[in-house]
C-alpha cells in the first residue's frame, strides 16, 4: 500500500483529535460490549431454552405447587420423552446476599432433560447414593471455593433451620450461556425433611420427542388436568423464560436505551470530527486533485481513514469489554450469564465497519465532489 504514508500523516496531523476520535470509538464499543453482556444476562433463560422442553406449572400461579402424582400421568402422554420436576428451595449460604438458585430436583431424571449440563459419571453415582448429596454448577462452586466432599450448610428461609449437604458432583455446561450457578439436590430429601407441603412439587419439565410436538403435548397436558383441583398451565420453556424477562423488561429497556443514546452520540461526534478534519484539508485535497489524484481514489482514501479510526478504536473497545466479561458476573449473582456471545461480537464488528463507513461517507462524498477551482481559490 503505497498510499499508507498519506494515511499515516493525516492521522498524526492532530494528535489530540486522533486520540479523541479513537477514544470515542473505544468508549462507544466498550459500552456496546457491556450492553451486549447485560442483554445476554437478561435473556439467558430465553437463549438456553430447549426447543423441545415444556414447563408445566400451576395454572393459578407459578408459586403454587402441583401434586407429585402428576409425574406418572404426564409420562403417559404420547409425544413426551422425559419428565422431571423441580421445587424451589429458597435458602442461602451464610449470608442472604449470597444468592444462587437451590432446587430440589428429581435427581434420577433431571439431567436427562437438561442434557446441556454435563456431570462426571462417577461423581453423579456418588450423588445418587448420598441422601444429602448435592450437585452444584461450576460457577457457584468456583465462586465459593466449594470442593467435592465439602459439607455445605444452607440456611432454609422457607422451611426453617440449617440444612447440610455434601457436595458430590459439579456440573459444567456446553454453551457459554448455560446457567452454571444452580445448586441441585434430591427432591426425596426435601420431601423427607419438610414438615408441610408433602406430596407436592414446584413444576414439571417435559422433554418432547421433537420440537414440533411441543404444541400438541402442552395442550394435551393442560386438557388432562383441567377440572382437577390442580389445573396446569403448560408453556414452552422459551415462553416461560420470556415471561420472566417481561417482568424485568423495563429495567432492561432503560439500560439499553440509555446505552444506545450514548452509543449513537459518540458516533455522531466522530462523524462530525471527520467532517471538520476534511473541511480543513480542502485546499490540500484540491492540490492532490490538481496533481492528478482521481475523485474515486481520494474518496477511497478518506473512507480508509475513517475505517482506521473505527477499527482500531472500536476493536479495542470490544476486546476490553470481552476481557471484562471473561471475569464473569460483576454484580455477584444478579447476572449469572454475563458474557459477550460470538454473535454479539460479530454484530459489534459489523457495527464497527458500518459506522466506519457511515462516518466516512459524508466527508468522503464532500472530497469526491470538491471542485479544484473552487477550493484552490480558498487557500
Amino acid at each position: 500500500m503505497k498510499y499508507l504514508f498519506l494515511l499515516k500523516a493525516n492521522i498524526k496531523r492532530k494528535k489530540i483529535r486522533t486520540f479523541l476520535t479513537l477514544g470515542s470509538y473505544f468508549a462507544a464499543f466498550l459500552l456496546f460490549g457491556l450492553l451486549a453482556a447485560i442483554q445476554s444476562a437478561f435473556h439467558q433463560g430465553v437463549d438456553v431454552a430447549g426447543a423441545n422442553r415444556l414447563v408445566v406449572a400451576n395454572k393459578t400461579s407459578l408459586i403454587m405447587p402441583l401434586p407429585l402424582s402428576y409425574k406418572e400421568k404426564i409420562a403417559q402422554i404420547s409425544g413426551g420423552k422425559n419428565v422431571t420436576f423441580a421445587s424451589w428451595f429458597g435458602g442461602y449460604y451464610q449470608d442472604p446476599k449470597n444468592f444462587f438458585a437451590q432446587m430440589a430436583v428429581d435427581s434420577e431424571t433431571y439431567f436427562d432433560v437438561y442434557k446441556e449440563f454435563k456431570v462426571d459419571k462417577n461423581q453423579f453415582l456418588n450423588f445418587l447414593k448420598d441422601r444429602q448429596g448435592c450437585v452444584i454448577g461450576k460457577k457457584t462452586a468456583e465462586k465459593y471455593g466449594f470442593k467435592i466432599g465439602d459439607r455445605i450448610p444452607i440456611i432454609a428461609s422457607i422451611w426453617g433451620g440449617v440444612w447440610e449437604f455434601n457436595l458430590r458432583a459439579i456440573y459444567t455446561g456446553t454453551k457459554p450461556e448455560d446457567d452454571l450457578t444452580q445448586f441441585l439436590f434430591h427432591a426425596s430429601y426435601l420431601e423427607e425433611r419438610r414438615a408441610w407441603g408433602k406430596g407436592m412439587v414446584g413444576w414439571y419439565i417435559v422433554e418432547t420427542k421433537s420440537p414440533d410436538l411441543t404444541y400438541s403435548v402442552s395442550k394435551e397436558i393442560d386438557r388432562k388436568f383441567s377440572n382437577s383441583s390442580y389445573e396446569t398451565k403448560t408453556d414452552t420453556e422459551k415462553a416461560f423464560a420470556l415471561g420472566f424477562v417481561k417482568q424485568i423488561g423495563n429495567i432492561e429497556l432503560i439500560i439499553l436505551s440509555i446505552g444506545a443514546i450514548v452509543f449513537v452520540t459518540l458516533l455522531l461526534v466522530t462523524s462530525n470530527t471527520m467532517e471538520i478534519s476534511v473541511r480543513e484539508r480542502s485546499g490540500e485535497i484540491a492540490v492532490l486533485k490538481t496533481i492528478g489524484f482521481s475523485d474515486k481514489l481520494l474518496y477511497f482514501l478518506t473512507i480508509s481513514e475513517s475505517l482506521f479510526y473505527s477499527l482500531s478504536g472500536g476493536l479495542l473497545g470490544m476486546l476490553t469489554a470481552k476481557l471484562f466479561t471473561l471475569k464473569g458476573d460483576p454484580t455477584g449473582g444478579f447476572l449469572p450469564a454475563f458474557y459477550v456471545s460470538s454473535n454479539q461480537f460479530a454484530l459489534g464488528m459489523f457495527l464497527i465497519i458500518f459506522f466506519g463507513f457511515l462516518s466516512g461517507a459524508l466527508p468522503a462524498y464532500r472530497v469526491y465532489k470538491l471542485k479544484i477551482v473552487d477550493a484552490l481559490g480558498r487557500i
Binding site: E284, I291, G292, D295, I372
Partner: protein
C-alpha cells in the same frame, strides 16, 4: 515559436483555439477570455503578464485541464483535452502537467521527500524507482539536504524549490506556474527564476508562467500580455 494569432501550429506542443471563458455570477456574465489563441512549441519559456483580474489564472486552469472553456479547443500533444471526462483529465494531468503555485501548496504533514513522491504514487513505479526519480528531482532543484524537513521548517524559497521538484518529478509535458515568485523576497525569487530558466534551457522543459514581476518575466523567452480576453505579444528575447 510562440504564436497568438491562431495560425501555424501543426508542430505545436500546445494549441489553444478561440478560447472563451465566461463566468456567471448570478445574473451577471463575466467575459474573462474571448477568442484567445495560443501556440506553444516544446522547450519554450513563456511569461504571461496582465493586470489583476485579466484572466491569467483562468488561462492556466484551462491549459492545465483544471477547468473547461466555455467555447474553443485545447490540443496538447495531439490530445483534445477539452473533450476529456473528469476522470481522464485527472489522469492526463498526472502524466502531462506539473503545477507550481504562488503559495507552494505543499502538504504540511509530509516531508519534502514525501511531497515530491506524491505524483509518483499515480505511476506504476516501484519504491526503488520512485526514490531514484525523487532524488534526481531534489538534486535538480538543489534541495536534497532538506529532504526530510517538513514545509514549516523550510523558507519560502526552499518550499518553492520543493514544489518545483514535485512538478518535474514525473517528467511532465509542460510546467504551469502561477506567480511562483509572488510570495518571495527578491533574492529567493531570483533563485527560483534562475532554477526555472535552467530547467527550461538545460532540460528543454516547456514552462508557462504567470507573473506580475517584470524582472521575473525577463527570465522567459517570450512575454505575452493578456488584455481584454486575448493575448498580445510583448518582447521576444530570443
Amino acid at each position: 515559436m510562440v504564436n497568438v494569432n491562431g495560425k501555424n501550429g501543426a508542430r505545436s506542443l500546445i494549441q489553444a483555439r478561440n478560447l472563451d471563458k465566461i463566468y456567471t455570477r448570478g445574473e451577471e456574465e463575466i467575459h474573462c477570455l474571448s477568442g484567445l489563441n495560443l501556440d506553444v512549441e516544446k522547450g519554450e519559456f513563456i511569461a504571461f503578464m496582465g493586470p489583476s483580474g485579466s484572466g491569467k489564472t483562468t488561462l492556466l486552469n484551462l491549459l492545465g485541464g483544471l477547468d473547461k472553456p466555455t467555447r474553443g479547443s485545447i490540443v496538447a500533444n495531439d490530445i483534445e483535452i477539452t473533450s476529456l471526462s473528469e476522470n481522464m483529465l485527472a489522469q492526463w494531468r498526472a502524466e502531462n502537467v506539473g503545477f507550481v503555485f504562488q503559495m507552494y501548496n505543499l502538504l504540511p504533514v509530509l516531508t519534502a521527500y514525501q511531497n515530491v513522491e506524491i505524483p509518483l504514487l499515480l505511476t506504476s513505479l516501484s519504491k526503488k524507482e520512485r526514490e531514484e526519480h525523487i532524488m534526481a528531482a531534489l538534486e535538480l532543484t538543489n534541495i536534497v539536504d532538506r529532504k526530510d524537513h517538513y514545509p514549516s521548517q523550510l523558507s519560502g524559497g526552499q518550499q518553492q524549490r520543493v514544489s518545483i521538484a514535485r512538478a518535474i518529478v514525473s517528467n511532465p509535458l509542460f510546467l504551469l506556474c502561477d506567480e511562483p515568485t509572488g510570495d518571495l523576497d527578491r533574492k529567493s525569487g531570483d533563485e527560483v527564476m534562475t532554477l526555472l530558466k535552467n530547467l527550461s534551457e538545460q532540460l528543454n522543459i516547456t514552462v508557462l508562467m504567470v507573473t506580475h514581476d517584470p524582472k521575473a518575466a525577463e527570465a522567459a523567452d517570450t512575454i505575452l500580455h493578456l488584455e481584454k480576453g486575448v493575448l498580445i505579444e510583448g518582447k521576444t528575447v530570443k
